[in-house]
Amino acid sequence: MTATTRRLLRAALVPVAASLVLSACGSSDDSNDSSAASADGSFSVSTDDCTDPSVVTKKITDTISLGYSAPLSGPVAGVAELAIEGYKARIAEANAAGGIDGVKIDIKYLDDAFQPDKAKANATQFIEKDKVDLLSTFGSGPLGAMADDAAAACVPFMYPSSSDDTYRKIEDYPWIVEYLPSASSETDFLVKYIQSKVTNPAEADAFEASAKAAGLTITKVADDTDPTAAATTLKSAGVDVVYHAGVVGSCGAFDGARERVDYHPTLVVAASNCADATEYVSAGAGSDGVTIAKYLEDTSDPALATNPNVVNYHKVVAGVKDPDNTVTQSGYMQADLLVNTLTQAAKSSSGLTRESIIQAARDQDYDSPLLIDGITWKATATRPAGVSGFQAVAWNAKEKKFVVSGDVIAID
């Protein structure tokens, strides 16, 4: 192993306490349901075990009701509020345009304070009392608490903000379609990206082999609850490549701390959650060059000011607090995926039913307006739903904006 390779392998991971990203580390599986790809490749799911199979295939004609368990209070309420604002804006746009073939979408929110047991209680209320057609939530903990009840009642769980690999297993959780990219897909992308920065092919191959064998070799883990302590720890360990599994609010703070302790590793890559320009502006020079896996357009980029999709987005989210925040954009896109899925389901031969909705969610190749060119939202009977790729963007502290630092890399 060459010295360069060894240096590269000294990648470091900075986990974030209470991070949404960390929750991507799934554990076990489940065995609730039976689902399969049909002979023609389309998705099918058995409704025999549903609490009330007739409801699953019953046509929805009055209102499409979705129960959303959200942390309206508690530690992540601020972040959730941004996402919900984007979500509401897109749903309002769809309803103003006549709904789904004339059927309006009605979202009911209940607070779970990011606590799983409250989320489970909410799920029971939504399913048993409110008789909702669809469910959604924010975070892997609440999703895990609600998953079983949703599966038993066969209520489609549409695009919850979770990246937990556990619920990406279609055969085990056919009724859940997550929104956030899985940690493994992001890691795949980052490995490829780091490879592309290595000039010696032999070293790159070695890195790839190592990465495949055991994932990134982690030499030091530092909790970024105290960003300065994290930066100091990694600096003293001589870490050259840093992966920051940050969430909104912690990304720029860590980079600012690096600057203060004069720590400048060769490469800093961060989770896609960190694609928030405002944080890096605050972080100053320390954030220069931080590279992020990105799949949403930067709606604050002046170069996209006349892009029709961005123009329409700004028009729709005109009243929200922070329209160019990535979380707001994510909320908008989640709702956009929902609208597209419902529209697709309504066009199916069986019309708008819970069954046709989940089938539509498993049959996607959709160019959502906020996705970067070259990236689409994909789902098949065997491929878990998610973006088709990522693009590396690096923060330019001088120009105060993200600049493209590589082509879109497909993750399939």
């Binding site: 986990p15 306490a17 209470a18 991070s19 960390l22 929750s23 991507a24 580390c25 799934g26 554990s27 076990s28 599986d29 489940d30 065995s31 609730n32 609490t51 309206l72 209070s73 508690g74 309420a77 509020e81 929110y109 209940l110 607070d111 304070a113 990011f114 606590q115 799983p116 047991d117 409250k118 489970k120 209680a121 029971t124 209320q125 048993e128 009392k129 975070g139 892997s140 903990g141 609440p142 895990g144 608490a145 998953a147 079983d148 599966a151 038993a152 937990d164 690999d165 556990t166």
Partner: protein, 374 residues
């Protein structure tokens, strides 16, 4: 003048029978609620078990703990791991909350040298460390990503007559039984010689020690018993939730919530944990109807402040004081002292222990020991 009923008399037994009949009727009524409301009641019962455990350490022995969320979590993960990794039936795992007894003994060790806020700091560290420990042993616990407990593995046992689809109904009854057992055990514990020792330690350690109470054993075992009971609540919680996520369910905030439940419900009362569980579940639920999100949290806080202001000894403690204007239940007089030893009215409010009669700290354990020996 209030009506005075003496323990051990027919009138007292009649009063107990009426209380039990009311409890049975309430349980039967709750079992017939719709699934959502029954689920809420189940959560109340689970939290009541956990708070009852905290009541042993903090209420009866005076060992302030904000870290019982960790015992709650250990109980939950013990159930989760035994079900998922060892193939145990979920219900069979509940007695294994004894694991929490051992952990409780260890956590109780610092209590030998420190108390009050300093002890609270130790338990706080325990609570803060727990999610990190869970994350560290991700191979066993699922780490930060959580542990999914398969629904099929939570199937009620065949002898119960409940199907998998009736799991929540079955859990309701299990929670009722566990809470009944826990309440019965704690009631007997606090009336025992050991219970008197707990009370003595709470009120004045020096006096208790001078009276022959082994402070170290009382403190450590109180923590052990307390942890075991709260751990059993954690096991129920795991079965209820089917998914364990330490960062969401077993944080320091959860520990503080248990303490809030105890204080609001009423320390050193048998019904306090149940009322505390109701407060934790229903106050946020109904305040959410008034104002969503942060407004709901503020309303919840205001409601708690009001309760503390109006009933400093907790809801059950406050109601107990009011009820004593009408009805006083006092301990039966020992045969030797009947007719000659004045008996002060005991506190009621759900249940009473001889520890709450207003005697001095030194007087109580001595009196208790004499009674035990007589």
């Amino acid at each position: 003048m209030p009506i005075v009923i003496e323990q051990g008399t027919n009138r007292y037994r009649g009063l107990v029978a009426v209380g039990l009949a009311v409890a049975v009727l309430v349980v039967l009524w709750a079992s017939g609620l719709d699934p959502f409301q029954r689920g809420q009641v189940t959560r109340v019962l689970i939290y009541a078990v956990a708070i009852a455990g905290l009541n042993v350490a903090t209420g009866y022995t005076g060992l302030l703990s904000v870290g019982h969320s960790a015992f709650f979590g250990i109980g939950a993960y013990t159930t989760g791991i035994l079900v998922e990794k060892a193939g145990w039936g979920a219900w069979a795992t509940l007695p294994v909350a004894a694991v929490c007894f051992a952990v409780g003994l260890l956590v109780g060790l610092p209590a030998l040298r420190i108390r009050g806020l300093y002890l609270a700091m130790v338990t706080l560290a325990f609570a803060v460390a727990f999610p990190e420990i869970v994350a560290r042993f991700d191979g066993l616990t699922g780490g930060a990503g959580g542990m999914a407990i398969h629904r099929v593995n939570l199937r009620p046992p065949a002898w119960s007559g409940f199907t998998l689809g009736e799991k929540d109904k079955w859990l309701f009854w299990v929670a009722v039984v566990v809470l009944a057992i826990v309440t019965y055990l704690i009631a007997n514990l606090t009336r025992s010689r050991y219970g008197l020792a707990m009370s003595a330690v709470r009120q004045n350690e020096i006096a208790a020690s001078a009276s022959g109470v082994n402070i170290a054993i009382v403190k450590v075992t109180s923590f052990g018993i307390s942890g075991a009971i709260t751990g059993a609540g954690g096991g129920l919680f795991a079965i209820y939730l089917g998914n364990l996520y330490a960062e969401g369910s077993f944080t320091l905030m959860a520990g503080i919530s248990l303490l809030i439940g105890l204080v609001i419900g009423g320390e050193r009362t048998m019904l306090g944990p149940i009322v505390g569980g109701c407060v934790l579940i229903y106050v946020p639920y109904y305040t959410a109807d008034i104002g969503q999100g942060q407004a709901s949290a503020v309303l919840f806080a205001v409601a708690l402040l009001l309760v503390i202001f109006l009933a400093p000894s907790g809801i059950v403690g406050g109601l107990g004081q009011l009820s004593r204007r009408i009805l006083v239940v006092r301990p039966g007089r020992p045969a030797l002292g009947r007719g000659s030893v004045p008996a002060a009215p005991a506190s009621s409010g759900g249940h009473s222990s001889p520890n709450d009669r207003g005697h001095s700290a030194l007087d109580e354990p001595l009196t208790g020991i004499e009674r035990q020996n007589s």
